[in-house]
């Protein structure tokens, strides 16, 4: 009895001691940890994010939501499915969208199984035409801008030309770096007021031509085209600057707790009743995203009519730092 009591006391004291040790305040505020069993942080992980993408719901498809799986790059937002041969793979995912609405959708390279002698890269990108820094209102103008502003190390091999890919219209542009003997083949189209671009790079033009031929297996939405691509059908119609002027019935400005200086490009979908049903932050800090969501959900718009019937509208709003304005009126081309 005495022994059992003693053991209990010892165990109790030990437990209290351990508990006290575990809960005692660390010296000088926590920089002197000495717990050998402490949890490890994952290596090579981005745990502290700056301005990042996000959305008000997890159901609505986003431009950055595409994935490469089983040799198919599929992007529900753009209604795009691109099947590649099995010896091409995405080894590294791209960065988050930029604050000028630029997306790296996929970075594809030869897999370990690749048997060809020439190598190359495939880069799929998108540029939100609402937020582009360049004076371009559609994909064709953006490619023309690219041609006109090529680095001096490049020479144009084929100026922008309209071509048919997978039964859709694309603009094709080719340039070369003579010193590197590298060729860039660009194919671009426009979907939902974004330029979606496929960039093929290699020293071997035969490889590039074969990759472009494979693009014919791609499935695309009906709207895709270098100067069309303004939504509609199963997706909202996209209209630049719809969140301005007479379109707005009620507007509440976001209240930011902290003064920051980054551009915050936001895409919204307005339902048929004129309410904001979805908010997509292309690039925002979490506190900015919350303040903007709280405000936007109170906005009311005049329903947009097409053929006399209300339809959903997708538009862009730049919060935060004022965007640099494109210098050409051509930017209005994405207006209906």
């Amino acid at each position: 009895m005495y022994t059992k009591f003693s053991i209990s006391l010892v165990l109790l004291a030990l437990s209290v001691s351990l508990l006290a040790r575990a809960q005692s305040a660390p010296q000088s505020g926590g920089d002197f940890s000495d717990n050998p069993q402490a949890r490890k942080l994952p290596r090579e992980a981005i745990l502290v994010k700056g301005a990042w993408w996000g959305a008000s719901d997890s159901v609505t498809a986003l431009p950055e939501g595409g994935r490469m799986a089983n040799n198919v790059y599929a992007n529900p937002y753009f209604g795009l499915a691109y099947t590649l041969s099995p010896d091409w793979t995405e080894k590294y995912t791209g960065p988050p969208p930029s604050d000028s609405g630029y997306y790296v959708l996929a970075q594809i390279r030869p897999a370990e199984t690749f048997k060809g002698t020439s190598r190359g890269t495939i880069l799929i990108t998108a540029q939100d035409l609402f937020f582009t820094l360049t004076p371009a209102g559609n994909a064709l103008e953006l490619i023309n801008y690219t041609k006109d502003n090529l680095n001096t190390e490049y020479k144009v091999e084929q100026p922008p030309t309209l071509v048919r890919i997978a039964s859709h219209s694309f603009v094709r542009f080719e340039y070369v770096s003579p010193v590197a003997e590298l060729h860039w083949y660009l194919l671009a189209t426009q979907i939902r007021c974004h330029m979606v671009q496929f960039v093929f790079t290699s020293r071997d033009t035969k490889l590039l031509e074969s990759l472009i031929r494979e693009m014919n297996k791609m499935s695309l939405p009906e709207e895709a085209g270098p100067i069309s691509g303004r939504g509609g059908g199963d997706v909202p119609v996209c209209i630049k600057d719809y969140a301005s002027g007479e379109s707005i019935r009620e507007r509440v400005d976001p209240v930011f707790a902290e003064r920051r200086f980054n551009p915050v490009p936001v895409r919204i979908i307005i339902d048929k009743e004129g309410k904001v049903k979805h908010v997509h932050f292309v690039s925002a800090f979490p506190d900015q995203a919350k303040a903007i969501t709280d405000a936007l959900l109170q906005w009311r718009f005049r329903p947009y009519l097409r053929d006399g019937k209300p339809v959903e509208v997708e538009t862009g709003i730049m919060f935060g730092r004022a965007p640099r304005q494109p210098t050409s009126s051509a930017a209005e081309a994405v207006n209906e």
Binding site: P26, S33, L41, A45, L47, S100, T125, Y154, F261, R324
Partner: protein, 473 residues
């Protein structure tokens, strides 16, 4: 007969193997045959006696070793080293981490010598595990605070500098007794990252580039064919573009100098006016103990403008002198012939641009007019940086947020002077250019496609030309 057979096999192996070695691209290493390429004042400074005197006084102050008390007081109570010039010394004062045995052989990592040199007491300040004689000078940061159980808490970002050393045990530290942070515990939980000193050559030119020039360059680089975007970090007070430090978090050289004097050496000054506790001591604790305050016995701030000075350079505070010294440092001088010869370097420069490296590493930007000295005005700064911050991805992420820069965003490191640098990347993890280039590919990184073109598509000869070009800078 047997000997002949062995010789034949060896000959065959040599023929097959060594040409491969010869063709394989290699980092030529620190350029040593063209003299030290940096550390001189701008020509316009040399031509003006007053400016030159200011520069020389700044240089002397930059290299001065501080003590807790005495003629150069204020060191500590926590610090990483006792002199600016000890860390910023390769290949000349103003530069970055030195190493012994590598041109110009400045010496071993000075942090590894602090006990031998009597800067710290070895019994109270063991050398942290990451400080090596042949490794880079480092500062350490814990990305997250620890919770009460000693676990790093991802919901409590820290990221401040955890000074390596304390004055405890020094003869001039009085009763101040401080513990070093638990670097080993941080190591065991992956809750530690490092930074190495940024070189300051040409820093005055960088300071004198107008925001409009940076914004125009940003717009001109948009819609490249390699997936690069980028943005700027901004000064939290006025919203203009900030540009100094690994994450472009500091607006000016004066702020950069004032903060470094306070954080790295523990010296309070007119910009950072108190002795600095560790982040945990300050934000979660009760600050520095009273026994560790005002150790110099001169009050605060320990570095001030001297109203009793007799000339511009003796009136100016230490921080002001550091600022002037860095402002007046000329940009490094590249070589046109070494390593690899003029043709290879010229070819490498063009290839560097052609594959997309130059989109971020902008070869040159023009400065605005300068009131300070003619050499800083309307000048071509060959910095090889756009001064933007870019997502470098998970491999390089340090999970420290500074201003608008997140955990994986870093300022494009200026490459001028690269030919005589020993350690690369923010934490000095690489001492070989190929290692540094490879680190540019990563999940979430902007430079992955550019790295793939370099690594997978260029020929060995083209890669070598780029390496030669980089070591010519």
């Amino acid at each position: 007969m047997k000997t002949k057979k062995v010789a034949s096999v060896l000959g065959l192996l040599t023929a097959l193997f060594f040409p491969g070695i010869a063709l394989a691209q290699t980092d030529p290493g620190v350029r040593s045959n063209t003299g030290v390429n940096a550390g001189q004042p701008l020509a316009s400074v040399t031509a003006n006696a007053n400016d030159l005197a200011f520069f020389q006084t700044g240089l002397a102050q930059f290299n001065e070793h501080q003590t807790v008390t005495g003629d150069n007081p204020g060191l500590g109570p926590r610090f990483n080293l006792d002199s600016c010039g000890a860390c910023h010394s390769q290949p000349a004062p103003g530069g970055t981490s030195p190493a012994s045995g590598i041109f110009p052989n400045v010496g071993p990592n000075p942090q590894s010598q602090v006990i031998a040199n009597g800067v710290v007491n070895g019994s109270t300040n063991p050398i942290p595990y990451f400080v090596l004689a042949n490794g880079p000078v480092r500062e350490a940061r814990f990305p997250f605070f620890f919770d009460q159980f000693g676990n790093p808490n991802p919901n409590a970002p820290n990221g401040g500098v955890e000074d390596l050393f304390t004055v405890s045990g020094r003869a001039d530290s009085g009763a101040c007794s401080l513990q070093q942070p638990s670097f080993n515990a941080a190591r065991a939980t992956n809750n530690i990252i490092f930074r190495i000193p940024t070189p300051t050559f040409g820093a005055g030119l960088m300071a004198n580039i107008d925001d409009s020039t940076l914004l125009a360059n940003h717009a001109a680089q948009a819609h490249n064919g390699v997936g690069i975007s980028g943005t700027f970090n901004h000064n939290g007070s006025d919203g203009t573009i900030s540009r100094f430090g690994w994450k472009a978090q500091s607006k000016s050289l004066m702020i950069f100098a004032g903060e470094a004097y306070n954080v790295e050496m523990g010296i309070s000054n007119e910009l950072f006016t108190q002795d600095r506790p560790l982040p945990g001591e300050d934000q979660l604790g009760s600050g520095l103990p009273a026994s560790c305050l005002n150790l110099a016995g001169i009050g605060y701030p320990e570095d001030v403008t001297h109203s009793d000075g007799t000339s511009a350079s003796t009136v100016t505070s230490d921080v002001g002198l550091f600022n002037t010294f860095m402002q007046f440092l000329d940009q490094p001088t590249p070589s046109t012939t070494s390593p690899g010869g003029a043709t290879s370097i010229a070819n490498g420069r063009r290839l560097f641009s052609a594959v997309g490296c130059a989109i971020c590493h902008t070869p040159s930007l023009t400065t605005q007019p300068s009131k300070l000295t003619a050499g800083l005005g309307n000048a071509t700064a060959n910095l090889f940086s756009d001064i933007e911050i870019h997502h470098m991805g998970a491999t390089l992420a340090d999970n420290v947020s500074q201003g608008g820069a997140g955990g994986d965003q870093f300022r494009t490191a200026p490459l001028w002077g690269l030919g005589q640098r020993i350690f690369f990347l923010h934490d000095g993890r690489c001492s070989n250019l190929l290692c540094a280039i490879e680190a540019h590919r990563s999940n979430g990184g902007e430079a992955t496609t550019v790295e793939a073109i370099f690594d997978q598509i260029l020929t060995s000869s083209q890669q070598q030309d780029i390496l030669n070009f980089l070591r010519s800078l």
